[in-house]
């Protein structure tokens, strides 16, 4: 385990809200074991927002579900450690996890069209979790559900609560999803591509809603997305994932200012900008993400990297801290903007 001391310095003795160490998720597939998340570590404090960015197949969704423990049981292996408020979640019993899902950790899912049960009324779906975890009576739960609907910005909440999901638009359904997630006042919210399926015009509203909820409740939030534009303004730190591993991790402003990993650089440069002239060519990153069942040795990005060298193809670079900025981590033999590093595997881990 040569990589990944992706911790930021912790005050001695206290524990953070979320501490993930060397999390590894392996799926059994017909072709062999597939390592979707390969030794990821991260920390999160209350009230902090972490953005996780990556292409499809980078492992970001699997990561968020692994942290929560929401993976399908069969054929899945979860290794490593996830400590939530000091409590170990990996290997915890189903009952323990269930008692935490809702009141302490909650998730907002990607596709509002399929995430709501079509045969239950919307208010009922919110009230259900209130009655289960907060032990509210039916009447109080229903009233609280209406209140929550108001808080997420749904007009005529009393009427809407009696509606079925099929009667609501996509944006409204996503607001309902958020209401469900926030209902029991969780301390950690995992938002898995919450706006990907929505119109651009609605996206901003939903994101603002999440921001506000987080601010009011001092919730920690992990925002998973493939859209750099979203994380640029709404996160405290950003983690870039590639092929199941952490490629780069830094406070948001620093990431954009001092990009280190070529992958991140490529991502940034492929984002179209408002300021560009209208006929500017879109730049895409050539190639495709690697096959996670048969991982090539060496850096996973090397086949597509502009600056790849022999070493990159042979040896996977460890995740190290930037000498000048201790909270900026990356895994690259030839980081951008820094003098060529003469690192050997296992050196210079900040811990």
């Amino acid at each position: 385990m040569s990589t990944n001391g992706a911790q930021t310095p912790a005050a001695a003795g206290s524990h953070r809200l979320l501490e993930v160490r060397d999390l590894r998720t392996t799926f059994q597939t017909p072709r062999g074991p597939l390592v979707a998340v390969d030794g990821v570590s991260l920390d999160l404090d209350r009230g902090e927002t972490l953005g996780i960015v990556g292409e499809s197949g980078s492992g970001k969704t699997v990561l968020s579900r692994s942290i929560m423990g929401l993976l399908p049981g069969r054929g899945t292996l979860l290794e490593g450690s996830v400590r939530f408020d000091g409590r170990e979640l990996v290997g915890a019993s189903e009952a323990t996890l269930r008692s935490m899902w809702g009141p302490r950790i909650a998730m907002v899912f990607q596709d509002p069209m399929t995430s709501l049960n079509p045969v239950h009324r919307v208010g009922q779906q919110i009230a259900e979790t209130l009655r289960l975890h907060l032990k509210l009576s039916k009447r109080v739960a229903n009233e609280s559900a209406v209140t929550l609907l108001t808080q997420v910005g749904i007009p005529e909440p009393k009427i809407r609560a009696r509606c079925f999901p099929v009667q609501l638009s996509g944006g409204m359904r996503q607001r309902v999803m958020i209401a469900i997630a926030l209902a029991c006042g969780p301390e950690l919210l995992l938002a898995d591509e919450p706006t990907t399926s929505l119109d651009v015009t609605i996206q901003a509203q939903i994101l603002d809603l999440l921001d506000e909820a987080q601010r009011i409740r001092r919730m920690a939030m992990i925002l998973v997305t493939h859209d750099l534009g979203i994380v640029a303004t709404r996160t405290d730190r950003i983690m870039v994932m590639y092929a199941g591993r952490v490629a780069e991790l830094a406070p948001t402003k620093r990431l954009f200012a001092n990009v280190r990993m070529p992958y991140t650089e490529a991502l940034l440069s492929s984002t179209p900008r408002m300021a560009d002239a209208s006929h500017t060519r879109l730049r895409a990153i050539e190639g495709r993400p690697p096959d996670l069942v048969r991982r090539p040795s060496g850096c996973a990005f090397s086949p597509r990297c502009l600056y790849a060298t022999d070493r990159c193809h042979e040896e996977a670079p460890p995740l190290v801290a930037d000498p000048g900025e201790p909270d900026h981590l990356y895994a690259c033999w030839h980081p951008r903007g820094v003098a060529p590093v003469t690192l050997t595997a296992g050196a210079s881990r900040v811990g």
Partner: protein, 319 residues
């Protein structure tokens, strides 16, 4: 939604109407004369004619049909050639069939639903594979084979159940006695019918549960911290129920007259047997009456199922 249901209802009534016409035509195509059946040896052309005239059996078919229809719309289904009013006849016999259908479907549901739900907990597990195989075997074993075997074994040789020709609804008994006797007498036939329908319901439900459990909203339900049983019964079952309900509608429709085999072998006097006898003796009124009533029941049952499915799955009428 009301409009949807109203148009359905109108269409269904139209169907009943058309069916009655076809039945009428069909039975009249057959050779033979009801007056011959009833008068037997004393039949002469004149007495035959007289009988016909008295019972609206003369004249062009259209007139005859109209005669019958008019009476029906006033609630009079006419009388059998043997004198009993058709409505009484049907009333008492329908009870037998209705009872068998009710008992068998309840039994089928009581077994199929919990079995399918439990089996979907562990797909491919012992319960799942076992249930699939066993129900499949039931499905492939046509009822009439079972009847022969069971009858021999359980009524003749061992007297566990009342034998053939027992009365499920002895005249003059109170409701609870009726219930008890009918349960005893009709258990075996209901059981046999249930076995076949059980297989269909299990198969449909299990397949649909399998599909539903892969939907996103089930993962969301898990993330709310709900227990597995709660998810299966409260969240997955309802969206999966529509195919089963539709097939229930079909089954009931088929069974109404299809119970004939069961009735015949168990010596029960139900609608099916009555129908066969009536066609044989050219008892037009009875045939028409039964055809009308059974078509009506089929249509009503299907309509009821339609309504129920819109409640079970709101997507159907509201989307």
């Amino acid at each position: 939604m009301a409009r949807y249901l109203a148009t359905r209802l109108a269409a269904l009534l139209g169907i009943v109407f058309i069916i009655s016409i076809f039945c009428f035509l069909l039975v009249h195509m057959l050779p033979g004369d009801p007056s011959q059946s009833i008068l037997g040896f004393s039949w002469t052309p004149q007495s035959g004619h007289q009988y016909d005239a008295q019972n609206g059996l003369t004249g062009p078919l259209v007139h005859q049909y109209w005669y019958w229809l008019q009476h029906v719309l006033h609630g009079n289904l006419g009388s059998s050639i043997y004198g009993t009013p058709v409505s009484t006849l049907i009333g008492s016999e329908l009870k037998v069939d209705a009872a068998i259908i009710l008992y068998s479907q309840v039994l089928a549901f009581l077994v199929a639903i919990p079995l399918a739900v439990q089996a979907s907990k562990k797909p491919g597990g012992a319960l799942d594979a076992g249930s699939s195989s066993i129900t499949f075997a039931f499905y492939c074993l046509p009822g009439f084979i079972l009847i022969t075997w069971f009858l021999q074994l359980l009524t003749v040789q061992h007297h566990i159940f009342p034998g053939v020709d027992s009365q499920p609804f002895p005249p003059g008994a109170g409701f609870f006695t009726d219930l008890w006797t009918s349960l005893q007498v009709l258990f075996l036939p209901s059981f046999i019918v249930a076995l076949g329908t059980l297989a269909i319901y299990y198969r449909f439900l299990r397949a649909e549960m399998g599909n539903t459990l892969q939907e996103d909203f089930i993962t969301v339900a898990r993330s709310k911290g709900l227990t597995t049983n709660r998810i299966l019964w409260g969240h997955a079952l309802r969206p999966s129920s529509v195919p089963v309900l539709t097939s229930t509608g079909n089954n009931v429709a088929l069974l109404i007259t299809g119970l004939f085999i069961v009735e015949y072998k168990f010596g029960l006097q139900g609608i099916g047997s009555e129908l066969v006898q009536a066609v044989g003796s050219k008892d037009f009124r009875v045939v028409q009456g039964i055809a009308l009533v059974s078509a009506l029941i089929i249509v009503i049952v299907n309509f009821a199922i339609d309504i129920i499915t819109t409640f079970v799955d709101p997507r159907i009428a509201r989307a």
